[in-house]
Amino acid sequence: MKNFLALILTLGLGALILVSLANNAAFPAFGDVDTTDRVSDGYINRDTDGTVDNTVSYGSTDAESGPANIVTAIVADYRSFDTLGEVTVLFVSSLGIALLLGSTKQKRLELDFHPNFMLRVGSKALFGIILMTGIYVTIHGHLTPGGGFPGGTMIASSMLLLYLADDTFRARIKGFKVLESVAGTAYVLIGFAGLFLMGTYLQNFLPTGTIGALLSAGIIPIVYVLIGLKVGSEISGVIDNFLTEEAV
């Protein structure tokens, strides 16, 4: 009976979504979007203030925002303050996990198996490759798909591999905490530097350079590497909290 009511409610919600979106002037059909009447047109042309019709191509210099990846231009430049809030949300949730699961005396959660020689050596070799991929994705966040969040998660997944493959392994969690605090503080301080040098919080105060070059886009690669370090150390801390228990 209860499941039936839930089914009715769910179907009702689906019907409501479909009815309210069908023939809605504000909601164009799939693929019929015209980006030129949206805000995103300014992000793609790097012309949000509307003064010049600045059409950007690969290799052009001194654009309003430097990254070749337009999503990065939005995440780490135009809406960077939003990203600072997002990093704060992740920080608060890792803090909550540490409060719920953490304790002063901790030992590793016991796994059901003991790793043999092959698993231990192979996981160490894979650890390096995954870590390098994560760092590559983080550093090239303004040029290719990826960036601080996926790169940081890859770094944390290499830590997870070590935790799962070795039942005695524990990372130096204090180092992660220091790294996380330093990266978060540096992000906020870069924001204040933008405020004092240019007049707006988190504004890009370095030259934007050539679109597509590794050293371009001003503070954006710096900010994204900081985000990558912060996310990686935070999620590694979360993994450590889940895989340890209170020592008796």
Partner: protein, 116 residues
Amino acid sequence: MLQYAAIFLIMLGLYGLLTQRNIIKIILSLNILEIGLNVFIISIGFVIGTNGEIGIAPILTSTNNSSALLFVDPLPQALVLTAIVIGVGTTALGLALAKNIYAKYGTFNIDEMGEE
């Protein structure tokens, strides 16, 4: 077409939230709902040109080298990036609560709790 799949995922997640009694399954349902929402938001930005050409992923490369080309809308993708990270945070916090609940009651089922 993609939007119908996304709406189906949202409905599936809501149904799971309403009917499941296991905490892990509730968190999984929440994630399915969230994935549906994310796919729906991304699908809003998809562009098909007047001659039927498909929008390019919003990255300038040496071949797609001008912003005059037909790019898909990058703003929904940036917003979904935020939503994914926050989803990871809430999921991890929910799983931490589930671990504590299991340590106290010895079960993940909400109906069997509170008997001791």
